[in-house]
């Protein structure tokens, strides 16, 4: 009886300590996990994406081939498009409502594939990708000036069916769009079965820091899209041109970094330190008890 009591008074506090530690773990883990989750980057509907991630591929990029099989190895991001009603001249209904985007890079060049439904192939069908340049934020509508924040320019990569090439451009406000002196962007489109596939290619880094977006491996940058349906109506006028187009908001883009194992090294060192700490602590406690 006495023995039982003695044992209990030892065991109970130990259970309590164990439970306490476990609870601490249970509390800290979900709290930290929650911290990591992006709070509001999530779009309204969960089925849509908020980022394009470009895996690193060895060997050639499918820069000239929008239909290459290797594109299937890139994750597909989907973005909703709106008719451009933000500034005049507006358009209240645009053909393209959804855009699918995939990207790949090989450490030197990046290739971005836009895919969208368009019932007719027309000479004036066109598509564009927009980026911020440098550290300054830029408004998604052509980098128009903001009133309380100093903005920067946008870099626009433009492709049109009849031109069959990529054009590297800049804008900082409406009506300021201009073609760059140095053209770094290539583009190629392929139309089949009511779907456009357009691939844009450019070196990840160019020397032109003031005009071109630079794409660091592993980091997120901003990206936005625009699409024009160049169909002609009975009078011969092009349905969507200039500011009349389908547009997206800013989303995120990343060229994935090569695999990196330093996190495992640091974790191994931390485990070693924690073990050492435990060992020293317990040894000292035991010594103290004996003394």
């Amino acid at each position: 009886m006495k023995f039982m009591k003695h044992g209990l008074s030892r065991i109970v506090p130990n259970i309590v300590v164990g439970v306490w530690l476990t609870m601490g773990l249970l509390i800290v883990q979900p709290v930290l996990a929650e911290e990591k989750a992006p709070a509001s980057a999530e779009p309204e509907s969960a089925s849509e994406s908020n980022a394009v991630s470009a895996p690193l591929v060895k060997g050639g990029l499918p820069a000239d081939d929008p239909t290459a099989a290797v594109w299937n190895s890139a994750p597909q991001a989907k973005f909703p498009m709106s008719p451009q009603v933000h500034w005049p001249n507006r358009i209240l209904d645009a053909t393209v409502k959804d855009l699918s985007v995939r990207a790949l890079h090989d450490g030197t060049n990046v290739a971005i594939l836009l895919e969208y439904a368009d019932p007719t192939e027309d000479a004036d069908d066109a598509a564009a990708i927009e980026f911020m340049v440098g550290d300054k934020k830029a408004h998604f509508a052509h980098g128009q000036p903001m009133l309380q924040v100093e903005g920067g320019p946008v870099n626009i990569w433009f492709w049109r069916n009849k031109d069959a090439k990529g054009v590297d451009m800049n804008a900082m406000g409406f009506g300021t769009l201009k073609t760059q002196e140095h053209q770094d962007v290539k583009a190629k489109g392929a139309y089949s079965n009511g779907t456009w596939k357009v691939v844009f290619t450019r070196p990840l880094e160019t020397g032109h820091l003031e005009e071109d977006t630079q794409i660091p491996m592993g980091g997120f940058i901003n990206i936005a899209f625009a699409v024009w349906d160049g169909k002609k109506d009975v009078s011969g006028a092009v349905k969507e041109k200039g500011s009349q187009k389908a547009v997206s908001s800013w989303w995120n883009f990343r060229a994935e970094a090569p695999p990196n194992y330093t996190g495992y090294y640091y974790a191994a060192i931390a485990v070693g330190l924690a073990l050492g700490f435990q060992f020293v602590l317990i040894r000292n406690l035991k010594k103290g008890n004996r003394a």
């Binding site: 065991i11 109970v12 259970i15 300590v17 930290l32 309380q148 640091y266 435990q278």
Partner: protein, 239 residues
């Protein structure tokens, strides 16, 4: 002696539950960010530690069981738990280290302030247009022409052009938008649009047009009246 650790555990749990669940429901407060909760929990735990270290007796009562658990003195059947803890602790440290150094796979999270403070010159402006049925009707007409493609004919933010925009067009029927705001605030937002927001409002993302370049002030005031009327809300006024 037996209960020495029960009180600290209860205190810790109660403080956590309070921060997590009680604070958010106190009127006028918001859920605490988890970093703040962790801070409070660490303060609580170190406070408990200090409290029990104050006198020799309570110190022994508090640390004694912990010490015995760690050294494994006379643990008997509890040895397994002790080893479990001794293994779990380094692994937890390693896991945390890995997580904190690993490159995040998620795009940067964004804390956009939806209702940042307006520039001073808008504070206290009142609607100069008399609130007649005529003016409200006119305002609704302008709303239908200029605003409904994004904010929706039903004032619910679901206009035919809304889907591509992030942040989405405001839903005026939702009591957390215009019902919380004064007319002067709307006047500022409509006049200057998304590009007029301060940096915490992330002006570069907003599709809200800068209507001052297209609409006269009087129309904007009428639109405000039509908007509140149509959305069945009324502006916030300061008592």
């Amino acid at each position: 002696m037996k209960g020495a650790l029960v009180t600290p555990v209860i205190v810790t749990v109660v403080v956590y539950l309070f921060c997590k669940f009680i604070v958010p429901i106190i009127p006028g407060s918001a859920p605490l960010p988890s970093s703040v909760i962790i801070l409070y929990m660490m303060l609580t735990i170190s406070g408990i530690g200090i409290f029990y270290t104050l006198s020799k007796e309570s110190k022994d009562a508090f640390w004694g069981p912990i010490e015995r658990f760690l050294t494994g003195d006379g643990l008997g059947g509890m040895q397994a738990l002790r080893y479990g803890v001794l293994i779990l602790f380094p692994l937890l440290v390693g896991w945390q280290t890995y997580n904190s150094t690993a490159v995040s796979d998620q795009p940067p999270g964004e804390n956009r302030t939806i209702h940042p403070a307006p520039p001073g010159e808008y504070a206290g402006l009142s609607n100069p247009v008399a609130k007649t049925p005529d003016a409200i009707q006119q305002g609704k007409g302008f709303y239908a022409a200029y605003c409904s493609p994004c904010h929706g004919g039903n004032f619910d933010g679901k206009g035919p052009a809304a889907r591509g925009f992030n942040p989405p067009p405001a839903n005026f029927a939702d009591p957390t938008t215009i019902a919380m705001l004064q007319e002067s605030y709307l006047f500022w937002r409509i006049k200057k649009g998304g590009v007029g927001l301060p940096i915490e409002g992330m002006p570069w993302k907003s599709a809200m047009p800068r209507w001052e370049v297209e609409l006269p002030d009087e129309w904007i005031w009428k639109i405000i009246m039509g908007e509140y009327d149509g959305a069945h809300q009324s502006p916030r006024t300061w008592e």
